[in-house]
Amino acid sequence: MAAPAKSQVRSLVVVDYDHCSYCGACVAVCPPDSIILHDATLLIDPVTCTLCRRCLPACPTGALTLQEVTA
């Protein structure tokens, strides 16, 4: 019997859209330029994000958190 596939745990910067004001304060401090801001849309590219966490304290509304997700 094959062992069940191991679920992968990885970290992601997650946007809380109830707090985000789309001000772009996070964009400026992101070294790999992984944060995309268009009007009222803020997306973080999980492929290029290096999880450096610089955006977390820069956010004036505390809308960004590092979370572990199971994929």
């Binding site: 992101c30 966490r53 505390g62």
Partner: protein, 392 residues
């Protein structure tokens, strides 16, 4: 209307971008001023205070964008001692939405093409050389060719990165900011208040700027600290609850401001960065409206000369960096050091310094007097302040 080619494309229609576009258009250049938002001046990310005389250098003063005119300043500690300063330069508290649109209007009147909902998506490049800007205008791609690009795309600027400038600030040189427009505030509407105390605004400060009609901009900046667990808005909520429990919130603005002093390089071949894109906000207070407008003026003057001479390489455009440095360089280097010096003072010391000065006669208060008291309370200040006093 957007043409296929221009002499100059300005990305971003804030005050810096509009002044740059207007100055270029006045010299007879073909200019496009592209704003990514659907409305110029909105949302505002600013405390809206400018020096009256400086503002008047750029635009005739008009009641419609002046919310209040203030001559007095005060500085309050976290234990509520207050220093009342004698009048310095008259300060205007603006209606930025109207002010920004008026400036863009003057650029259009000078002959610039102005377009909104026009997002810059990248540069048109030939090898390493910039030949234009790829715009998305109302969702439709537009390739606009030009000789020079002026990047006025704000704190979150992309154009600086495309131009290869080192634009990512250190966190200690970055303010996280939050502000409410409050109404039902019981304040003296002739005074701009500053509040200092690390427990209320860690490594930053708070302000209360009257906007007339019983309203005020109440906001704060805090230097970004990775160890900090609370955000700017949390501190602002505490302050408002403590000082303005009866108030109502009419609007909320937040943002980030680089306070690193200007970028070491603000130009590349065929490219100049201005305003917050070039980190031109004052490295102590983070005020940036008129400074950005000067940036726009100097960049435009340089662009005009570069096009006349037929040389738009960085080698020529560096003249803009010289113009900036001649006007602001020494002050900015000083202000940067003042911030570092002030931030080292423990809060209890800060409180006792403010308490002692608050006892002096406000009518005859001089900066020398203030400095003497501060030095008595905190002799270490001399180490940081001496080079400043000597002008080095």
């Amino acid at each position: 209307m957007i043409r296929e080619s221009y002499d100059v494309v300005v990305i971003g229609a804030g005050p810096a971008g509009s002044i740059a576009a207007r100055t270029c258009a006045q010299a007879g250049l073909r200019v496009l001023l592209a704003e990514k938002r659907q409305e110029i001046g909105s949302p505002v990310r600013c405390a809206e205070a400018v020096g009256k005389e400086t503002a008047a250098e750029f635009i005739p003063l008009a009641d419609k964008w002046i919310a209040a005119e203030v001559d007095h300043f005060s500085l309050t500690s976290s234990v509520n001692d207050t220093i009342h300063f004698p009048p310095l330069e008259t300060t205007l508290v603006l209606e930025r939405k109207i002010f920004d649109r008026e400036l863009a209007h003057t650029a259009a009147q000078a002959g610039a093409d102005v377009v909104v909902k026009a997002r810059a998506a990248g540069f048109i490049k030939n090898g390493a050389g910039i030949e234009g800007v790829k715009l998305m205008v109302q969702g439709m791609p537009h390739e606009v060719r030009c000789q020079i690009v002026i990047g006025a795309d704000g704190t979150e600027a992309q154009s600086t990165r495309w131009a290869g400038l080192k634009s990512v600030p250190q966190l200690k040189d970055y303010y996280s900011a939050a502000q409410y427009l409050l109404t039902n505030v019981n304040i003296d509407h002739t005074v701009c208040q500053y509040h200092l105390g690390w427990s209320q605004a860690p490594l930053g400060y708070l302000w209360v700027f009257p906007k007339g009609n019983n309203t005020a901009n109440v906001g704060l900046v805090i230097a970004v600290d990775p160890k900090q667990t609370r955000s700017a808005i949390d501190y602002l909520n505490d302050f408002v609850t403590k000082h303005f429990p009866q108030s109502s919130i009419l609007s909320q603005v937040v943002g980030g401001i680089p306070i690193s002093n200007v970028l070491p390089e603000m130009t590349a071949d065929h490219y100049l960065a201005i305003g917050d894109a070039a980190h031109q906000s004052d490295p102590l207070t983070a005020g940036g409206i008129t400074n950005g407008m000067y940036g726009g003026l100097f960049a435009a003057q340089t662009a005009i000369e570069a096009l006349r001479q037929g040389d738009t390489t960085r080698k020529f455009l560096k003249k803009y960096e010289k113009l900036w440095d001649d006007k602001f360089g020494a002050d900015y280097r000083r202000l940067y050091r003042v911030r570092q010096a002030v931030f080292k003072i423990p809060e209890e010391k800060l409180n006792s310094m403010i308490q002692q000065v608050s006892q002096l006669d406000a009518k005859n208060l001089s900066l020398t007097q203030v400095f003497k008291v501060f030095l008595r309370e905190y002799p270490l200040l001399i180490v940081d302040a001496l080079p400043l006093l000597l002008g080095k």
